[in-house]
Amino acid sequence: MLSKIWLIPMLPLLGAAINGLVGPKLSKRAVGFVACGIVLLAFLLSATAVFELSGLPSEERHVTTEIGTWLPLGEVGAKAQNLEVSWGFTLDPLSSVMILIVTGVGFLIHVYATGYMAHEEGFSRFFTYLNLFLAMMLTLVLGSSLLVMFVGWEGVGLCSYLLIGFFYDRPFDERTGMSCADAGRKAFVVNRIGDFAFLIGVLYLATTFGTVEFRGITEGILAGGGSHALLVGVGLLLFLGACGKSAQIPLYVWLPDAMAGPTPVSALIHAATMVTAGVYMVTRMSGLYTAAPEAMAVVAAVGALTAIFAATMGIVATDIKKVLAYSTVSQLGYMFAGAGVGAFGAAIFHLMTHAFFKALLFLGAGSVIHGLDGEQDIRKMGGLKARMPVTYRTMWVATWAIAGIIPFAGFFSKDEILWGAFSSGNKVVWAVLLAGAGTTAFYMFRLLHLVFDGKERSHAHAHESPKSMTMPLQVLAVLSVVGGWIGIPAALTFGANLNFLGSWLEPSIVHAGREAAHEAHASLALEWGLMALALLVAGGGILLARSMYKDREGIAEAWARRFGPLYTMVRNYYWVDELYELVVLRPFYAACRVSRAFDVYVVDGLVNGARHVTIGTSHLSHANDRWIVDGLVNLVGAVVGASAALLRRLQTGVVQSYAAAMVFGIFVLLVLYSLAR
């Protein structure tokens, strides 16, 4: 299997091809079966491959298979190195974790989607896109070089666009007048900005190290190649790409609007997989980042800032999916913060647990929306606990998990990040993340209470969702509980190393070298104390939410009035979209108008001018032809005519005139004759 890992991305591609070409002619059952079955098959192949990988000794867990050369570029860069890019796929501990998450959660979401989209049009188109997305995501995580990864990177961006704008002409946002297609375009364009920076970074690496293979670059960096400034710069460029893909400041604005897509899309792409691509990339390039601490500091700072920033917006959001969207942005911030402080393994751990509970939360939200016939405003929900028990119970589990309460999954991963921040000396980051944890707990329980507790505020006849939708919820709920248990930190196990995930990921990650020292010196008490503090803060958030929202009315509104302007600012999401509109889009549109004006007046003017010139010259030519050429011809005729008119007067008919002429002639002859003599 290890030699055939290229099958793993290719299978969903095949599924997309089947559903794309013949899907409309198949029944919905058949389409769903093909799509889900292929993903399941991919999952099984992934599991097999990972199992085989685990059988290898830890140093050898890096298997690359190439299926052909892509760009035989020849000499590239200042050092004139031979660059050859091939279609390579690498399975190592890091990518093995990723493919299991992607195919596993992906499969559950596919099954859910067969139920959720059952009454929608474009069923086969949806699953074509979904399978295509999985193929691209798997290419992204399995790629052995930056460029193969970039193929997947772009591909998931494309599928995100296609899926967000799936209901392309449905209106999405009343306030801005966006349709779902507009939201998809926004996502794509914002992503593009990041991708531009990303590609420049890749090209710098290619010309400096003569290769775009991850292994080659890491080895080159460790060997000392590339100036420090270059590495920092590339690190920042690549991170900017990650900001676009993983919705960090300043390129997060597309994610809340991406909720225009169907809920399974939000779950898969904007919670579990695509948005985590940035984290994966940073971890993959850990060799680069550890050699460029300045870049890492930026990563950590941006991650932490985004975490708290997005969390504040989650407090006041009223659309169930928007709350979860801001929550995703915030949690991604946690992951980047973890990577930025050097805890790459923690970041991946949190990526995994987040995939479980966030996907669950989104699917649950979808279940609620489905049950309420399309209602998404949480102010119009409530009291669904009794009507949708399975949905309630599973979302309850996910909410505890995201709040980071032991023994749920979120606790272990979040705590590892917090400990990583504190122990590496980034106390400010730690403090910010701690505050964020409390906020997260608060707004997630706010959501839970408003949706499921209290009086029923909606008029729809709420019902539980079908089995196809509730079954994945239950599986994910189980994972949200036990998913964290593969990463239990050493502090809690009294020395025994039960951090399976951490040790599994070790070979894939390059450390700065000072980590081990830190770990050894840190005291157990400190670690326990910090854990307790985190639990306390989270618990505080939960209690506050309970006091404000559970079976209560009006308290939140009173608080909102008290904070007046502050509340308004957060409610309007800090007017970031408006700021971008003003600072970026308006000048851009103005430039577009200038460009168009140039095209219309200058270019078209030139073309029209050429037309006028041509017409003018043709007039000239015509005039020339008419007056000069024809004139000459007519002149000849006129001359002949005139001379004829003149000369014919000689034919007077008078004989004596002729005689006179003859006499004159004789006279001339005589003169000539006498002269000749």
Partner: protein, 169 residues
């Protein structure tokens, strides 16, 4: 009077006669008067021929020209009952000065050519010069064929004249 002086006097008289009658021919309105003047002119010419020693030709001149041709012309004039000629029309205004000019020019050239010739007669002619016999001999010897052709010409002219003058019947 010497022979030369007589000759000169005769020449002078005859010259005056011919020139005068020529002037009458070209100017007089009445065609009959012109015809008579022409007759005088022809006789004058005959006289000049005599003066130059060509007796035969002088005779022929009188018989053919003054006799036959003149009568013919007079005959036609009488037949057509021509009145006096009227003045020239619009074209005549140019012709009026152009003709004399041209004639004058012609005369000038001819005169110049003539005056460059020899002053005296080249040879004194032998006896028999200008007689019928000499001319006839020359005529029938050297100019036999032209003579025959000439007779054909006369026939053609006769036929032509008859045809032209015939009434279309």
């Amino acid at each position: 009077m010497s022979g030369g002086a007589l000759e000169a006097a005769a020449f002078f008289v005859l010259a005056v006669l011919t020139v005068a009658s020529a002037l009458v021919v070209i100017t007089h309105r009445n065609p009959v008067v012109c015809a008579l003047a022409l007759a005088f002119h022809l006789v004058g010419i005959a006289g000049l021929f005599l003066l130059l020693g060509s007796q035969f030709l002088a005779l022929l001149q009188v018989i053919v020209y003054a006799g036959a041709i003149m009568v013919l012309i007079l005959f036609v004039v009488m037949l057509l009952n021509l009145g006096e000629e009227t003045r020239a029309g619009s074209h005549g205004r140019i012709q009026a000065w152009l003709a004399p000019v041209l004639a004058l020019a012609l005369a000038a050239v001819l005169g110049k050519a003539v005056l460059s010739g020899p002053a005296q007669a080249a040879v004194t002619p032998g006896s028999g010069y200008g007689t019928a016999g000499t001319v006839g001999q020359e005529l029938f010897a050297r100019f036999f064929y032209p003579f025959e052709v000439l007779s054909l010409l006369l026939v053609a002219a006769m036929i032509g004249a008859v045809l032209l003058a015939k009434k279309r019947v």
